[in-house]
């Protein structure tokens, strides 16, 4: 199945596996209601999010603007000096389209202050000078989280999450970094489903079309790094997890055994990233175990 932008008969916007097709009206209705409800229950009227220029945060910006009104939404752009200029351009495209507030925090000084730069040792010491891209990427994601949570105080709003289901399941995220948020409206939508909703709500086409990238180093793309295309990965995760197909059934459906094994391993080793850190059971009543209250209840809003 191919998804087209409006009536344009040209190149399809993205490849859509048929089993991942959703009713975008229902998805929009539920996610917008969710944002509104989460804020209201917590006693907030304002929201903010980190806007990267990619499709996930662009979609959440559109949904949040609909939920609270653009005047109550702050989009924070947090480029590093090596970030692609296109990322900032695309983020500004979203800001201009929505007419919401935005703010730019250049995280270069924070990151370079830790890892060092131009032969100058940073706060991380000598051993941080030659840190690999993984360490740097994780640090950048956490520097963005720190900035965003600081801005949440001045803006008086809650941080809206922008991680999708695909990256969450395979663990393609930084713990306490890009995955940190007060709540996440799109965390149960696969990338292929994010694309459908993004197209439906009017996220600019160039953002939907471009190759997804964490933009943690120049030229990086998710698909090249993961070794899968999103349509393939989404299909496999959908049948494996949502539809509980066994390895044998997946093989019979045409999924390569090596791909199945690899994805299962990615999902299993990232289980820790999706759960609240465990607490050793000692007392008679322990949070999350036998002290079980809704997050939001009478008296819980600020």
């Amino acid at each position: 199945m191919r998804a087209d932008a409006g009536s344009a008969p040209s190149e399809p916007l993205f490849e859509l596996p048929p089993e991942l097709a959703i009713d975008t009206g229902v998805a929009q209705r539920v996610t917008v209601g969710f944002i509104r409800n989460q804020l209201r229950q917590a006693g907030f009227s304002h929201a903010l999010l980190g806007l990267s220029g990619g499709i996930d945060s662009a979609l959440v910006a559109f949904l949040a603007a609909e939920a609270v009104g653009p005047e109550n939404l702050l989009c924070v752009l947090m480029p590093y000096r090596t970030s692609s200029p296109e990322s900032v351009e695309h983020a500004l495209l979203v800001v201009n389209r929505l007419g919401c507030a935005h703010d730019t925090v250049d995280i270069s000084a924070m990151v370079d202050g830790y890892f060092g730069r131009d032969g100058q040792i940073g706060a991380g010491g000598l051993g941080a000078m030659d840190a690999n891209p993984l360490r740097r990427g994780n640090f950048m994601a956490r520097a963005r989280m720190c900035s965003l949570y600081d801005r949440s105080v001045t803006w008086g709003g809650l941080v809206v999450g922008t991680s999708n289901k695909t990256e969450s399941l395979i663990g393609y995220s930084t713990l306490f970094g890009d995955s940190a948020c007060a709540f996440n409206p799109i965390g149960d939508l696969y990338k292929s489903q994010v694309r459908q909703v993004a197209a439906a709500v009017g996220v600019p086409e160039e953002i939907i079309r471009k190759a997804p990238s964490a933009d943690l180093w120049p030229g990086q793309t998710d698909e090249q790094e993961a070794g899968f295309s999103y349509p393939e990965l989404d299909r496999l995760l959908f049948w494996m997890i949502d539809k509980r197909r066994t390895d044998e059934e997946l093989a019979a459906m045409g999924f390569a055994t090596t791909a199945v094994d690899r994805v299962k391993r990615l999902v299993a080793v990232s289980e820790f990233k999706r759960q609240v850190p465990p607490v050793a059971k000692l007392g008679p009543r322990t949070t999350g175990v036998d002290y079980l209250y809704p997050r939001r209840r009478p008296g819980s809003s600020r």
Binding site: A21, D23, G25, A27, R29, V30, F34, P294, R297, P298
Partner: protein
């Protein structure tokens, strides 16, 4: 048979905020009376919200609680079905639905089937009811009242109809999920429920009144889509998805007679056959004799 106007209160209860929910009930009852309704139906746990967890004990009330009686007085002249956490005298907590009539709590149904799978965890917090009875109402017909998951078990609507109910009422807090374009209205849950309601109405040749809540508790969205299905299995009314509202639906109770004369499925039911085979199945499952596996000495052949 008189025509009856039903008011479906497709509300979004606030989780654990009894006072607000009570106020919303009083307002809906007043509006229903104004609109000429004979019956008003509220969704499952309409007074408390659904995802209560340990809050359940804090919002529980006895079936003769003054707040329920207030609501009963407010709705006098109508029949009202409201739902709440019931605390029994022995302190078991039930998900209950009460029929209020003549200023009193006339009947209480305790939810029989507590889903404890998938996103549900009801059995952890609640006790399951163990009586399935119908109740004569001021509407001139007997009602069968069930709560949400009760209708995912065939025996419930069947038993209610065999026991004389002509209007089957299901009050629900059904969380919307299984988002996919292939489903009617985009939600797997809504598609399944619609199939069930039409099937039950047709097979029991009864009216089915389904009141499902809207709004969100925590992470789940309740999808609404409350319905009234006629005894031929056709939808008379379908409320919008996700929107709060009080909807009036007129039904003609005489439709039940017409349908049952023309399509005498209930007449042709074979409960004695069903019971005999159920006894055999139970005996085989438990590896006991039929007499030992059955409930009690009701065959008249024991000393």
């Amino acid at each position: 048979m008189q025509p009856v106007r039903i008011a479906l209160a497709q509300l979004a209860p606030r989780l654990g905020v009894l006072a607000d929910n009570l106020a919303a009930h009083h307002a809906a009852v007043a509006a229903a009376r104004e609109g000429g309704a004979g019956l008003i139906v509220f969704p499952e746990l309409s007074l408390t919200g659904y995802q209560l967890q340990d809050l359940a004990a804090e919002v529980a009330m006895a079936a003769d609680d003054a707040r329920l009686l207030d609501l009963a007085r407010e709705s006098a002249g109508m029949s009202a079905v409201v739902s709440f956490v019931e605390e029994a005298a022995d302190h078991r907590l039930f998900i209950s639905a009460a029929l209020l009539e003549d200023g009193a709590v006339k009947f209480v149904h305790r939810k029989l089937f507590l889903p404890t799978y998938g996103l549900f965890d009801e059995r952890r917090f609640f006790a399951a009811g163990d009586r399935l009875r119908t109740v004569d109402s001021n509407l001139g017909v007997r009602l069968g009242i069930a709560v949400c998951e009760d209708f995912w078990h065939l025996a419930v609507p069947e038993t209610l109809a065999l026991d004389g109910a002509q209007v089957l009422i299901n009050v629900s807090s059904s969380p919307g999920r299984d988002l996919a374009a292939i489903h009617e209205v985009g939600l797997g849950t809504a598609a399944s429920w619609r199939n069930l309601m039409r099937t039950y109405a047709q097979l029991t040749t009864s009216f089915v009144v389904f009141c499902n809540r809207v709004g969100m508790d925590e992470t789940v969205s309740f999808w609404g889509g409350s319905e009234v299905i006629g005894p031929s299995g056709e939808a008379i009314f379908t409320a919008p998805l996700f929107d709060e509202g009080l909807h009036f639906v007129d039904i003609e109770l005489g439709d039940v007679r017409r349908e049952r004369i023309g399509l005498p499925l209930l007449r042709d039911e074979r409960p004695e056959l069903h019971l005999r085979e159920l006894r055999r199945i139970l005996a085989e499952r438990t590896d006991l004799g039929i007499d030992d596996a059955s409930d009690g000495p009701d065959e008249g052949e024991r000393p």
